[in-house]
Amino acid sequence: MSADHTTMSADRSKAFHVCTTCLLTLVMLSALIIGSFAYLSLGLNRLFTLDAAQELGRFFLSFFPPDVSRDFVAKTAKASLETLAISAVGTLLAVACGLLLALPASGRYGAGMRAVTRFMLNLLRSVPELVWAALMVLAAGLGPFAGTLALAAHTSGVLGRLFAEALENAPRAPAGALVEAGATPAVAFLYGTLPLVFPQLLAYTLYRWEMNIRMAAILGFVGAGGLGQMLYYELSLFHQAQACTVIIAMLLLTALVDGLSATLRQRQVSAHV
């Protein structure tokens, strides 16, 4: 019976111990959360007064109905095309740069090159698209070109890293057999490795395009053209109805690109070299 007694007390102490860690974490978490609210002195409680709530309600209601006048819809359509173009060209540029950087980053040219290119890719990825856009506005002036370059820079980092991983994990046998039959490494890559990784590369690219269309819409906030620039402009003039139209256009554009991307992804499953 004494053995049972010791195991029971051991279990009990273990349970007690686990509970204290849980409790401690919970307490710390609550402290951090409450601390955050306190630090920010958000004054959200002000929102809960009737006046403030009414005003906020009125503000949000002023968005509806959206402005559907011919001229404005035409203007929005043009900005939508501009945003679509920014996302498409930016993603295409990123695929080219990403692939270029992915080759050394996959270790084909030695560990030194791999480390350097991986560092560059990480740097490109870490800076958010909006910050890139602010920088590119300096370098290329206001307008959609800055947005394209910003998307290209950030996405190169993302795609470059994904491509490099795909290349590293690709089987070496096909390209190796071609090299052993006398082909140059470059040609062996085209015939032996690229067909293997191509579906993955395309999937990553299409997924990234879906993300980029959302980003391209926003980059205009810092002057990089498209729907974002329109939205910023209309909201700064407190034209809520017009802003609503632009937001609806953003949602439609996102849905369109999502659909296109899904179709292309299905198509390429049956494609071949």
């Binding site: 089987p171 046998a173 052993e180 039959a181 040609v187 015939y191 032996g192 067909p195 071949h272």
Partner: protein, 276 residues
């Protein structure tokens, strides 16, 4: 001399001794079959001859050149002249048969031709001709991952036929094919070799095919040459000894097992296999 191995040994990085003290030579136009149990070192031997692996000991000379003393460009040119048929052709699944076959000449094509051929195949007729010899012309534009094992092996053979090398090395080229097809494929390889007076070395798991098509049989066991004889002198006792680790009866790909233990067993082979 098509190739010459002198006391060649091969040791893998994991200390496994794959081949030891191999001395083997062949003149131009010779046909050699390498037989032996699994793990005997047949693939390693072929990879050595293909200048794909470097020997740990001994000297090797292929097509009158010492491959490991060449510059990289010269080595590449040497490898262009050697055609390897793999047991499992390393071809990307999405690639079509036509592109896989044309890849045989990538070593000699200029880079722009190789690139353009990816968009539109540069020599459809040439690829088709080779595939037609192997009775597979109707699958010319099929994706390789939609082909059966035997069909894929034939694409691999067609690639080497298209390459037109001076030395053909075939590593179990017909292991996934049924007996009739296997026989036909080997006959095509032999035709190619003899019509262009090209040396051929084939490792085969099926002894009947080896004995039928090749005038020189090399038995490999445990990484060393067990015997190097013409087929008439390959007795059943030698074969049994060679395959002792595997089974009591040597493996065949024919419709009937080798009829042992008569000394003149070769005549027991079915008539229809005796003419190409």
């Amino acid at each position: 001399m098509s190739f010459q191995l002198d006391n060649v040994g091969l040791r893998y990085p994991n200390e496994q001794q794959a081949l030891s003290r191999i001395t083997l030579g062949a003149g131009r136009g010779e046909r050699i079959a390498v037989i032996g149990p699994s793990g005997a070192g047949k693939t390693s031997l072929l990879r050595l001859l293909a200048a794909a692996l470097r020997p740990s000991d001994g000297r090797i000379e292929v097509l009158q050149q010492k491959p490991w003393q060449l510059s990289s460009r010269a080595l590449r040119r040497l490898r262009c002249r050697i055609g390897v048929v793999h047991q499992k052709p390393p071809i990307p699944g999405r690639q079509r048969a036509v592109t896989a076959i044309l890849a045989g000449r990538l070593g000699v094509w200029p880079w722009w031709k190789s690139v353009l051929s990816l968009i539109y195949p540069a020599d459809i007729d040439g690829a088709e001709a080779q595939l037609a010899r192997l009775e597979l012309a109707d699958r010319l534009f099929e994706r390789c991952d939609r082909l059966s094992g035997g069909q894929l092996q034939r694409v691999g053979v067609a690639r080497v036929l298209y390459q037109q090398p001076d030395l053909i090395l075939a590593d179990e080229p017909v292991s996934a094919m049924d007996p009739t097809l296997a026989n036909h494929t080997i006959s095509q390889l032999v035709n190619e070799a003899s019509s262009r007076s090209v040396t051929m070395v084939a490792s085969l798991h099926a002894v009947d095919l080896a004995l039928h098509w090749f005038p020189r049989i090399v038995g490999l066991k445990g990484g060393a040459v067990a015997f190097d004889l013409p087929p008439v002198r390959v007795s059943d006792a030698l074969l049994r000894d060679l395959y002792a680790s595997e089974s009591s009866v040597p493996p065949t790909q024919g419709l009937e097992p080798l009829a042992l233990p008569e000394p003149g067993f070769r005549h027991a082979m079915p008539r229809k296999f005796l003419s190409p």
